[in-house]
Amino acid sequence: MFAIHADELSKVFRVVRKEPGLRGALQAIVRPRYERVTAVDRVSFDIEPGEVVGYIGVNGAGKSTTIKMLTGILVPTRGHVEVLGRDPHRQRVANAREIGAVFGQRTQLWWDLAFVESLNLVARIYEVPPARYRELLKQFDDALQLGELLRVPIRSMSLGQKMRAELAATLIHEPRIVYLDEPTIGLDLLAKERIREFIRQQNRERGTTVLLTTHDLGDIEQLCPRVIIIDSGKLIYNGPLTTIKERFGRFREIRFEIQESAPILETPADCERVLVEPHRVTFRFDRTQTTASQVASGVMNQIEVVDFSLAEPDLASIVRQIYQGGLRVAEGRP
């Protein structure tokens, strides 16, 4: 049985079209005109138990709408979804028992309560047996170094502490599936590492299925062997991360700020000149063929460089490249 089975999942919203100005506002009340907005368009995928899958897309691509349908908050317009064999909407309570969710920066804990009290309440809500609760508390204490944090109310915690607390609270009832929405946003590198390690460990030890929605490609790289990419409501890629990296993660862009204009600048080996501006030139190079330092020295040997910067591949450009490069969905499916 799949952990998550989505079949032609679609969500269409009826939105009132608002014209600007006073007249438009009146019209919206008296005779509203509706538009149909397709947030999710026939998305299908299967996730095996124990997988860690990245669910990525730019803002507005339909990620959170999909998650809402998987968690039972929203009813699909078309298609259907099964989570652990259940319809998450019809069997809301039974499904809720087996899932956990982290919604970005919105905490599920009570603002003014000491963390351990919040944890207590969550454990009671999910009916975690007291002995098991104590065991898990100790395990999480070790794994996340909660220690003194237990006595602190959420409102007094730093971002990193909040996220550790959030994860502990989400996993205290040992859910079989966990939906993580931007779990490392705003955290420094060390804190991110800690969170990622914890997620890895939980997945390893408990076989918890993880569906990770994030903009942070570092998260994806460290945690998700498989990714699903969604854009404008449509699924455009569903397959191994390695394929993506090979195809699109290869290229880097490096930009140099130079003193003189350089029409006579020779392009270094394995490089492609992308953009030339009065005091700036941008190259794209293949990481498998050459390195940033080689390109940089190749340029600096020729001309005086004031400053240079290296651009990380971002999600938007990967999506763009998928459309352009024509990596079709079929290719990526495992």
Binding site: F13, R14, Y126
Partner: protein, 262 residues
């Protein structure tokens, strides 16, 4: 059912822990509503000391009506306060989605999440009024009367909750339901005084449409030996009906929420 009861206990204790952290604030919250009540009651006393009766009701008898509805109001104030802010504090912020993902009834979660101690002020004031009135009139404190009082007050509280729930449900469509709830809730002002002072239209509304009459006037009439017939006993029935209707509306609203995502 028992699980929900014990779960409510846990919610309650945790809420108390938060409240007691702000101890002085706790006290002030609990007593502040009493001051507003006191002003109104002082005004009532000033007026009534000039006249023998209000439409045949003595001052103590009027206090009985006033006190009963105040106790009923305190019940919704204490246990269902979140219904006021469901729109802008829970639905608009997305907090409500969290309730949908937990394995307990979202309405229960909403109500249990906030026990409002401000309501204690009204509970005390109302109780004092009822005790004073009954002693002043000479209504005996028999077991029967006590049971009747308890049922009346609980039914009254249930009616308050049902009406607030019904109006709060509009939040699923309007997002901010507070104005709607405010409007219906404030109709209870009528029920502070004997319904006999109003015209027939208002009396019918307050008996069958926005039935605050069962929170004060009809139980008081019964205890005073005034003829009200069946209406003396219909409080629980009316409360049950309105709760059922309100809950059905809530479920309808929930279905709308899961279909349109607010």
């Amino acid at each position: 059912m028992r699980r929900y009861l014990s779960l409510y206990g846990v919610f309650f204790v945790q809420r108390l822990k938060i409240l007691l952290e702000y101890r002085v604030n706790f006290l002030i919250g609990a007593t502040s509503t009493s001051f507003l009540q006191a002003a109104g009651l002082l005004a009532l006393w000033v007026v009534m000391r000039q006249i023998p009766t209000l439409n045949g009701w003595t001052f103590d008898e009027v206090l009985l009506v006033y006190g009963l509805v105040t106790i009923s109001e305190s019940i919704t104030h204490m246990f269902a306060d979140n219904l006021w802010t469901i729109g802008h504090s829970y639905i608009r912020t997305g907090e409500f989605d969290r309730f949908m993902v937990r394995p307990i009834d979202p309405l229960f979660h909403l109500l249990a999440d906030r026990f409002c101690h401000d309501g204690i002020g009204n509970l005390l004031v109302g109780s004092v009024l009822v005790v004073k009135a009954m002693s002043g009139i000479g209504i005996p404190w028999t077991a029967g009367n006590l049971i009747y009082l308890s049922i009346a007050v609980l039914s009254g509280g249930a009616i308050f909750i049902a009406l607030n729930l019904l109006t709060a449900t509009t939040a699923f469509w309007l997002v901010d339901s507070t104005p709607v709830t405010f409007m219906v809730y404030n109709a209870y002002e009528f029920a502070k005084y004997p319904l006999s002072i109003y015209g027939r239209g208002i009396r019918i509304v307050l008996t069958w449409l926005i039935p605050f009459g069962f929170a004060s006037f009809y139980p008081a009439s019964y205890l005073l030996g005034r003829p009200v017939g069946l209406l003396a006993w219909m409080g629980p029935v009316v409360a049950a009906v309105f709760l059922a209707v309100a809950y059905r509306a809530w479920q309808h609203g929930l279905a709308h929420y899961t279909s349109t995502g607010s």
